[in-house]
């Protein structure tokens, strides 16, 4: 009989595997049943077997004194169990040598099997796992009672197996669920961690700390520099904080060769998994003896390097090291490591792009916000403070002198917090300066022309602004007369040397970018000796939970206390007192005082 098909059936084999009984020592519940069979049937041998593709493993073997699992089995083709598995039926053989079904089985000779009787040991799904069987060394006539006893005991043994399998399955499922939960928690934490960072270096540093000890004993994150493309080790973490100094020493010294794991992973974009870090690898990877000595301090056992990549090229790698006692990375660690690197790559790229954009915006803004020129007869101070975090703003100031000696002060705020707002701000600033310089227009005319010109801009933008024009040479005993006009902007503030501070009063006029034909008004006022004229953007005082008038009042009160401070000092104190606490918005500020 060819029994190999049923014996090798994959469903059957997986059911056998799931029992968790293979190669396990004897256990009393099975031995008790086997002893009972031996006793009740008066047979010298009784077995509980589980049969995999190659052998019959004896979970219980009454009559054979063997405790080593290696001695508690025989090859499947020498077993009688194979016939039960092939037919999925009980097998009762009175004379094994004579019966055509079993004649020629090597066990007849080697183990002295003369008579054999066995019932299938079944899984809950009905697969035949092995047998519950008794063996006699004498030819015998098995009775119906013998068969009935065997059947009952085989069913009991099957029940015992089902119980074991259920427990094993539950344990495995629990472990898998726990590992899955841990994995999800970990990956979620990585995502949260990186999503919360607005700075690439900070994000990378945090990542290296996050992966230990879950994925490795220590980790190093390497990123290519945006400009030079040199490798920079930006983050590291060790499960043992006392080892961080040793890790830092290694990082300072390592200078890895181009064919070592980290550069290779970055170059190829493929993971590099080294199960055993041996001397050959270390010599090849680290040309410098000091680096090799530093690495030895860390007792490396294995390393897995995963590239970090965004949409196109890899821009870095995360290297996960295990110290020798932890051994090579498990399949789970490698799987999670790969997924972590994939997510981290995408998130880090966002952070990097954001970083680049922010730097570009800052550079652009700084280049646009120049220091004011030295002006005869006037003290001028300017300030610009970006908003907190990564947000860029559209606030701007400008101070310039016209050919007739007039000084023009402009403060504006473009709606929006993006590069576009800055670009528009730059265009408006240039436009204002050009129009003003060319035409020497009054503030209201200037605003009107800029409003006209905004139509020509490619983007629809809104902007609030105040323009002030004054000439120190026009000074009288009363002070310096000035003209101002306001397009939807908070009004200028006048701080007198007696400590009174007032917002210049005028009916509000439309902000720029809505209706170019808006009629605009010039207002006249005087800047008395010792007084300070202050132009600012709403970032200085506007607060989410404070009404505009209340906020303005607060600003006025603060200014009153600063009236006699030198002008630079006044700006610093003003910002320190009320400006930067919230940081929701950017702040621009111009202060002017007659000398």
């Amino acid at each position: 009989m060819d029994t190999s098909v049923r014996v090798g059936d994959l469903l059957r084999l997986s059911a056998v595997e799931a029992t968790g009984l293979l190669d396990t020592p004897a256990e009393e519940p099975f031995d008790r049943l086997a002893r009972l069979a031996s006793l009740l049937l008066d047979a010298p041998y009784a077995f509980v077997t589980v049969v995999d593709a190659t052998r019959s493993y004896w979970k219980s073997c009454v009559g054979i004194d063997a405790t080593d699992p290696a001695d508690r089995q025989n090859p499947v083709e020498e077993s009688f169990c194979q016939y039960v598995i092939a037919t999925e039926e009980p097998l009762i053989i009175g004379d094994a040598a004579a019966d055509p079904r079993t004649a020629g089985n090597p066990s007849i000779e080697s183990m002295g099997v003369a008579a054999w009787a066995g019932y299938p040991l079944r899984s809950t799904s009905g697969q035949v796992l092995g047998t519950f069987c008794v063996v006699d060394t004498e030819v015998r006539q098995w009775t119906e009672r013998d068969a009935a006893v065997l059947e009952t005991l085989a069913a009991a043994a099957s029940g015992e197996v089902a119980l074991r399998t259920a427990v094993a399955t539950a344990t495995t499922a629990t472990a898998a669920a726990r590992a899955g939960q841990e994995r999800l928690t970990f990956l979620g934490a990585v995502s949260d961690l990186l999503a919360g960072k607005s700075n690439a270096e900070e994000a990378v540093g945090a990542l290296a700390h996050q992966v230990v000890p879950y994925l490795a004993d220590w980790a190093v994150v390497t990123v290519l520099d945006d400009v030079t493309h040199e490798r920079r080790d930006l983050g590291r973490g060790h499960r043992d904080p006392t080892m961080l100094a040793a890790l830092d020493d290694y990082i300072a010294l390592h200078q890895p060769a181009e064919n070592s794991p980290i550069p290779t992973a970055i170059r190829t974009g493929e993971p590099v998994i080294i199960e055993t870090v041996d001397d050959a690898l270390i010599r090849r990877s680290l040309p410098h003896p000091e680096a090799r000595a530093a690495l030895a301090e860390l007792d490396p056992g294995s390393v897995a390097v995963f590239p970090l990549r965004g949409r196109d090229h890899p821009f870095g790698a995360i290297a996960l090291y295990n110290a020798a006692p932890r051994g090579r990375h498990t399949a789970e660690e490698l799987r999670v490591g790969q997924e972590m690197a994939r997510r981290a790559g995408a998130l880090l790229e966002n952070v990097r792009l954001h970083d680049q954009q922010r730097r570009l915006a800052e550079t652009l803004q700084r280049s646009l916000l120049s220091s004011p020129p030295a002006l005869g007869g006037l003290d001028v101070a300017v300030r610009y403070l970006p908003a907190a975090g990564n947000r860029v703003g559209g606030d701007w100031y400008d101070v310039y002198e016209e050919p007739d000696g007039s000084t023009v002060l402009v403060i504006g705020d473009v709606v929006g917090h993006d590069l576009q707002a800055i670009a528009v701000m730059g265009q408006l600033r240039t436009m204002t300066r050009t129009i003003g310089y060319d035409r020497m227009a009054s503030p209201a005319e200037l605003l009107g022309r800029v409003d006209d010109a905004i139509r020509g801009l490619a983007v629809r933008s809104l902007c609030t602004a105040v323009v002030v024009r004054l000439r120190a040479a026009d000074r009288t005993d009363e002070g310096i007369p000035f003209t101002w006009s306001c397009a939807g902007h908070p009004p200028p503030l006048l701080v007198r040397d007696d400590g009174t501070a007032v917002a210049l009063d005028a009916a509000p006029e439309l902000l720029l970018g809505v209706r170019p034909d808006t009629r605009r008004t010039d207002h006249n006022a005087v800047l008395p000796p010792g007084a300070t004229l202050l132009l600012t953007t709403d970032g200085l005082f506007e607060r989410r939970h404070l009404a505009f008038e209340d906020a303005l009042d607060r600003l006025r009160r603060t200014l009153a206390g600063l009236a006699e401070h030198p002008i630079e000092d006044l700006c610093d104190k003003l910002i320190a007192d009320i400006g930067v606490r919230a940081g929701e918005d950017d702040i621009a500020l111009i202060a002017v005082r007659p000398v």
Partner: protein
């Protein structure tokens, strides 16, 4: 009032749209309008004012507790989209806080809000 539709609850802002008789549509906004949700206000307003058979849009801001410049930009964009189709966009009601912001920016007349605080124009 024929239809009332909840347009959605976004971060810190709620939008509801009501259709009245004669092609007048009312958009009710509540919450805080800032850069995190100005785009939603803008989209909802433009959708409302550009829909077929709409003659004018009234925006009720009485339950808006905060309006920043990006929110203001959204309202102006809605007004511009209406103006392109000769459809008026009016602010029918606004909290004092919001009224102040609109006032300072010189936009009261544009939205049919007079400077004393009462509402002008047809509702």
């Amino acid at each position: 009032m024929l239809i009332e539709a909840g347009l959605g609850i976004f971060e810190r802002v709620q939008l509801t749209q009501e259709s009245g008789s004669g092609g007048a549509v009312r958009l009710v906004v509540s919450g805080e309008i800032d850069m995190s949700n100005a785009q939603q206000v803008r989209d909802a307003g433009i959708a409302a004012v550009t829909a077929a058979d709409v003659s004018e849009l009234g925006v009720d801001l009485s339950a808006v507790t905060f309006l920043d410049s990006t929110g203001l930009g959204a309202l102006v964009a809605v007004r511009t989209a209406g103006a392109d189709r000769s459809r008026a966009v009016r602010i029918t009601a606004a909290s004092p806080r919001v009224r102040q912001v609109i006032e300072v920016c010189g936009l009261s007349a544009e939205f049919g809000l007079d400077s004393t605080g009462s509402v002008t124009g047809a509702d």
